[in-house]
Symmetry: C2
Subunit: 407 residues, 2 copies
């Protein structure tokens, strides 16, 4: 497997377009469309929030009930969440309009929205946006890149990635893009992420691979502990690579899962590092835990703690906050087993040794914590399982962005 | 029942003292002592954090195994958490020293610490502090007030309260004080709270009353979602009011519970309003929920959400964030049943009506949210249970305080 240049249009037969539809923003592109030349197997994972946005409900139905999907219509600015029957009707209207423009069935159109909750979509602008995008659909990497820019809300950077891997001697490509910066505490998947591959694979295996990979990638990031109403991760597989379709688990399936893991982890980490107001990527790695679930719970609690996040922002070696977060995470452990280290490109320092604080050099600690990617490494000495979670620091800018998001 | 002036020394026979022991702060009092002239029945609730501070472990043992308690020694600045065997030994040394000075048994001395985790207590200063405080113990309200000031860390205001009520024609007094500003997301009780009453009551009933009342008071506040390692709520009852001891549930017990509820809610709200960096008290009231537990879960999720808290700070009527928090809280509900209102002394405004957003006047909403106490009122229309939770807004100052707490 190797990383290549590109994003959502990297795989064969995938096209993208984007436009400034003035959904909410006045001075930038805010709609995107993804289209595959041929029908795709589709899989998805969605928010576990009880309050699900209308597009989440629509896409769940398409992914489970339609044999194929072929297009995704995305808007930024308004989330179409908490919008009642009217909001649901808008998903259908969007899909019908796209179907007409693209000459495909309505039930093969996926929709996704992100932005303010509790506002209705301006359907006239959504339709005009689709009319503008349809003739502009393009396989160029640039078209994919512009789509990644168009779906951003408070993101400061576009997020895209692509890889190539071999399946039975055939080169397969997997590309993707995502957005997400606030309301990030995914539970099943995260804000909006779209993946496209030319792999030929059974639909059920595609869904299974996605569900597995999500657990250790998108579900292991957090920005603010707020699980969104709109979390959506979709993958489209059109089979145009020409490989013999993967119909059972085995070496070829594992190769795909490895590539999928790489792409999901890459995008998830980009999202964590670009968390609202973030100045650095904050990673927690927990090793030798009793169970995989414990390792996930502990590492996620560390990066989710406001106090830990503020300490990371301040480069304050206040390691008690990480232990405190582990303590209330729900996992059971004995602090007398635990070792805790700070790590970054600036070095590695142990600060806690099996129940006892270590007297350490504050200057060295501050230097390590001053890096733009910082890891809290925890050895539980209780088993063999490990997990890594990603978040970001808590800064003044997070408050600034969210004290006045709607205007 | 009526509120009276006073705090921890309001009830008969309770004395307090405080001193500047230079545990961590250089320019203020940072130790306090509570002493009852006669032995007390004691009850307590403590943090559920797996990582428990040494004083929590000590106090749990005293409360469960000792027949009586008579003194509490408190320090601010260092939490004596994550300090291993050395930290546990310091609890015993503190109790032994206090026992010697006060001429009471060691196992009737409770200890409490708050401050930085992972640092050892300077025992020489702790002992000198106790030596200074013992002769200064005083029943005056002023002595209680100074104790409430001495136990503060990042608190901006001292927190104390007292009430009087009648038990079988006898006037009983209940007073209390607490501290707490950050790392506040109590689970069993909160940071440090001390209550003292001259009521005569069975020890088991005292414990039961405390456990019940805590559920809807201290356990319903949050500042930052971080459950502390040191949460401790203690109540001492010395019986000096002279009432016939309460030995069974009934009218007299209920009267006591009512007073206890008032005092705990009063202190809990003070703590929420004085959350680190807070500019206002943020209340969520959920009514007509399916179960009491649902009502608690939903109201607490609203006040715990970073995005809700930032919106409250910005007076941004972004009600979707409250619904989003309810949605990921773990409680099950149908958004098509839910009504949502903003309330404060400036007025009341409905913003969401059974699944559908209401178009409202933004100026009116901003005025309501601009008050110093703001309530999100949610009618679930699914049952008859209700609960209220308290928190505060998320401000620049929260980040500032916590990005550099130790220095």
């Amino acid at each position: 497997m190797k990383k290549i240049v590109g994003g959502i249009t990297a795989a064969k037969g995938f096209m993208a377009a984007s436009t400034a539809a003035e959904i909410k923003y006045k001075d930038r592109k805010d709609m995107a469309m993804i289209f595959s030349k041929t029908p795709c197997k589709a899989a998805g994972t969605f928010t576990t929030n009880v309050v699900k946005a209308a597009p989440v409900k629509w896409d769940k139905q398409v992914v489970t009930e339609s044999e194929f999907a072929q297009a995704v219509v995305i808007n930024a600015g308004i989330a179409n969440a908490c919008t009642g029957e009217e909001g649901m009707a808008y998903c259908k209207q969007t899909a019908d309009k796209a179907a007409e423009l693209l000459n495909i069935p309505s039930d093969s159109v996926l929709v996704a929205s992100t932005g303010v909750i509790g506002m209705q979509l301006p359907m006239d602008r959504i339709c005009k946006g689709m009319e503008a995008m349809t003739p502009a659909l393009d396989e160029a990497l640039e078209a994919g890149h512009n789509a990644a820019l168009a779906i951003m809300t408070t993101d400061t950077k576009e997020k895209e990635v692509a890889v190539e891997f071999e399946v039975n001697g055939v080169t397969v490509t997997l590309g993707g893009m995502c957005k997400g910066s606030g309301m990030i505490h995914p539970n099943m998947c995260t804000m909006l992420s779209f993946l496209a591959t030319d792999l030929a694979i059974d639909k059920s295996l595609l869904q299974e691979a996605l569900r597995e990979v999500v657990k250790d990638t998108f579900n292991m990031i957090t920005v603010d502990g707020d699980t969104s109403t709109n979390d959506t991760l979709l993958i489209l597989a059109n089979g145009l690579a020409g490989n013999d379709a993967i119909t059972a688990k085995g070496k070829e399936y594992d190769t795909f899962v490895e590539a999928l893991y790489y792409v999901c982890e890459f995008l998830a980490k980009k999202m964590a590092a670009d968390g609202e107001g973030a100045s650095k990527l904050f990673e927690a790695k927990v090793v030798n835990a009793k169970s995989k679930e414990d390792a996930r719970t502990l590492s996620r609690a560390i990066v989710a703690s406001n106090l830990s996040k503020a300490a990371i922002y301040g480069c304050d070696a206040n390691f008690g906050r990480f232990l405190c977060a582990m303590g209330y995470s729900g996992a059971q452990f004995d602090e007398r087993d635990v070792e805790l280290f700070f790590e970054s490109k600036e070095g590695r320092l142990q600060v806690f040794d099996k129940g006892t604080p270590i007297v350490f050099d504050e200057d060295i600690a501050a230097k390590i914590l001053g890096a733009d990617e910082v890891t809290i490494y925890v050895d539980m000495h209780e088993g063999n399982e490990e997990a890594t979670a990603w978040g970001c620091d808590l800064t003044y800018d997070y408050v600034k962005i969210n004290a006045d998001y709607r205007s």
